[in-house]
Symmetry: C2
DNA sequence: TCTGCCATGTAAGTTGTTACATGATTAT
DNA sequence: ATAATCATGTAACAACTTACATGGCAGA
C-alpha cells in the first residue's frame, strides 16, 4: 500500500485537496512516486474510512468547494510504522530494456532512434533536477534543516538516476554504431 | 502489454514451457522485467488465443507432460511492431524514496539501517552482474555477435543501475551521519 | 473564442500480488 | 524422512491505466 503512504507522506507536510495532491504527484513527490488523479481520488475515501486522514469542506465561492484533507494522529503513527518496516530494493522494470533484449529481430536503426530519444528525455530531466538543486538547495549540508536534508536526498537520487541512464544511452549508441 | 512482449522476447530466443519461462523471468529476463509464475501462466493462454504463440504437449514419462510454447510468425511480427513503436522512459517508483521523503518523522537511525540494508543488497547484485560479465562477455565488442551485443547492453544497464544506487546509498549515509 | 487551470469524480479493463492447491521425482 | 525441483494451475484482491464525464473561471 505504498500509494496510501505516499499520500500520507505528502499530507504530513501540509494539508491539501485531492487536486493539490495530484499536482504534487506530478511534481516533487512524483519524482519518485507517480500517481494519477484517478488513483488519488479513489484512495482518499479509503484512507478517511481507516481514520488515517480527515477532511473538511472549504467553501470558496464562487469557485466549487474543495475538500481539505489532513493527516490524523493515527495516520502519522501508521506512516511511522510503515517507514520503520524494512522493504526490498525496487527491481528494474523497463520497456526499453525488453526491446533491447530482443533488439536483434529488428533493424538496428530503429533501436538507435529510440535510445537517442530516451537520451534526450533523460538529459532534459537531469537539467530540471539540477535547476531545482541550484534554486532550492544552496545551503551547505551542515546548515540544512533536517527535513530539507531528506528532500535533498530524494533529489540527489533523481539526479543519479538520470545520470546513470544518460551514461548508459551513450554507451549503447556507441556500442551499436560499431 | 509489455508482459506479453517480454514473453515473446524470451520465446523468440528459444521455445520453452511456462515453468521454464518463469525461471527465465527469475534470471536473465528478470534483470529488467520481473513476472511471477502466476502472471505467466495466466498470460500464455491469452497469447495462444491471439495466435502469437502455439503450444505442443511433450510427453516425458514418467514425469508429467509439459507444454512447449513457441512463437508464431504473427507473434514475431507483433514483437517487431512493438519494438519499433516509441515508448517513454520509466519513471522512478520506489518505496525507500517515499520513506526518505518523510524520513524526518521517524528516528534517523531506523532510516540509516534501511539505507545500509539496501546498500548491501545493491553491492551483492552488482557483484552478480560483474561475475556474469566476466563469465559470458569476454569478447571485445567488435567480435561480439549481434544478439550478444543486445544482451550485453541489458547487462550493462543492470551494472549501471546497481552502481548508481550504491553510490547514492553512500552519499545518503554520509549526509545523514552529519 | 479558446486554452488552461481549478475541482471532482465514475467505469472498464489490465496488471500485479498473495494465498491456495496438487502431485511426482531427485538428491541429501 | 525431508527438502528441493519439476510442472501447472485457480481465486481473490489490490493497483494501475485509459477513457469518459462535468462545469466554472481567468487570461490571451
Amino acid at each position: 500500500m505504498a500509494l496510501a503512504h505516499a499520500i500520507l507522506a505528502s499530507l504530513v507536510e501540509c494539508p491539501c485537496s485531492g487536486y493539490d495532491l495530484a499536482k504534487r504527484f506530478d511534481g516533487s513527490v512524483g519524482f519518485f512516486w507517480v500517481a494519477s488523479h484517478q488513483q488519488i481520488y479513489r484512495e482518499l475515501p479509503k484512507l478517511e474510512e481507516l481514520g488515517w486522514i480527515e477532511s473538511e469542506a472549504i467553501a470558496q465561492f464562487p469557485r466549487p468547494d474543495k475538500k481539505l484533507y489532513y493527516i490524523t494522529e493515527l495516520g502519522k503513527q501508521q506512516l511511522r510504522e510503515w517507514i520503520d518496516k524494512p522493504c526490498e530494493p525496487t527491481l528494474i522494470k523497463d520497456d526499453l530494456l525488453v526491446k533491447i533484449f530482443a533488439g536483434y529481430v529488428v533493424n538496428s536503426e530503429k533501436i538507435l532512434e529510440q535510445i537517442e530519444y530516451h537520451e534526450k528525455a533523460h538529459r532534459e530531466r537531469l537539467l530540471v533536477y539540477k535547476q531545482i538543486e541550484q534554486q532550492y538547495f544552496q545551503l551547505p549540508i551542515e546548515q540544512m534543516p533536517e527535513s530539507e536534508k531528506f528532500r535533498y536526498l530524494t533529489l540527489l537520487n533523481g539526479i543519479n538516476y538520470e545520470t546513470y541512464w544518460l551514461a548508459w544511452c551513450k554507451q549503447a549508441i556507441e556500442l551499436l554504431e560499431k
